[in-house]
């Protein structure tokens, strides 16, 4: 990898500022503006975190999948850095999704956890990518570690279609999709103010995700340059 220039951080700054503004707008809409649910009451507001965070985690693991495939094909270090960076942030968002779901489940189902198919498969997703991160931190031989992790990243991504379909294939406590349904438009399934709150929070999470990813990717680039310079110094 070539030397990394000190590129201006202006674009990252703008992205971070935009993410912050939309996050604040999302908090306002989610906590104050959107009406409470007719059945669940105020606790349904956890949905404005829960859905955006799991969709962001899916996006993250999709980038791990793409980066891993490209790395195994072309052996470009940038693709490996992308996969590693996306995996780290994906683990954070998956863990947060499980925590939010647990709190929501405690208030609506009466339990913090149940061995429901969707919950269990999401926990497996978290374990796979936690294993991915452990593999990266434990493997000293760099290229072999990156290749093994890429294979694990591709296998881990295959859990996501299972998570999505689990509510159709098995009898689960977790409800099937209630907003994005094939038989009705989203605005026919939910109050417009709730849909707006969900959309704003989704945009906020995606912007925040790309901001964090840009920082993490930059860290990966810097680490690679440091490693390359150390190796050059030794030779």
């Amino acid at each position: 990898m070539g030397e990394i220039s000190n590129r201006p951080n202006k674009r990252k700054g703008y992205l971070g500022a935009a993410a912050l503004i939309i996050v604040l707008a999302g908090l306002y809409w989610g906590l104050l503006h959107a009406p409470p649910d007719a059945y669940q009451g105020e606790v349904q507001r956890i949905m404005y975190l829960h859905i955006p965070s799991i969709l962001t985690a899916y996006l993250s693991f999709f980038l791990v999948f793409v980066g891993s495939c490209l790395y195994l094909w072309k052996r470009e270090k940038r693709d490996d850095i992308l996969a590693y960076s996306a995996a780290e942030i994906g683990v954070l968002f998956t863990a947060l999704t499980i925590i939010e779901g647990s709190i929501w489940g405690r208030s609506t189902w009466g339990v913090w956890w149940t061995w429901d198919a969707r919950l269990t498969l999401t926990a497996i997703l978290l374990l796979i990518f936690a294993g991915y991160l452990m593999l990266r931190s434990l493997t000293e031989e760099d290229n072999r570690g990156a290749s093994s992790a890429a294979v694990l990243g591709i296998i881990g991504f295959l859990d996501i279609p299972l998570i999505h379909m689990s509510v159709y294939w098995w009898r689960t406590l977790h409800q099937p999709p209630s907003i994005l349904r094939p038989d009705k438009a989203p605005w026919d399934n939910i109050h417009p103010a709730m849909l707006t709150a969900l959309a704003i929070n989704f945009v906020a999470f995606v912007l925040l995700y790309f901001y964090l990813l840009s920082l993490r990717f930059r860290l990966g680039e810097l680490r690679e340059e440091i490693k390359a310079r150390w190796l050059n110094g030794e030779n």
């Binding site: 105020e42 956890i46 965070s53 942030i89 208030s107 310079r229 110094g233």
Partner: protein
């Protein structure tokens, strides 16, 4: 715990975790930048000493 208690618990955990991750990431990035700058300086001084 009331309904709002669950809501604030969820929002508090999520935003605290994201804030902590962001701060940690910034610190890791700063450390890497300092380390790289030191390496560049030491390499330059070695090159200058050789010439």
């Amino acid at each position: 715990m009331g309904a709002w208690g669950f809501v604030f618990l969820a929002y508090g955990i999520v935003w605290c975790a994201i804030l902590i991750y962001w701060l940690t990431l910034k610190r890791r990035l700063r450390r890497a930048e300092v380390e790289l700058a030191q390496l560049r300086t030491s390499e330059e001084s070695q090159t200058n000493a050789q010439t």
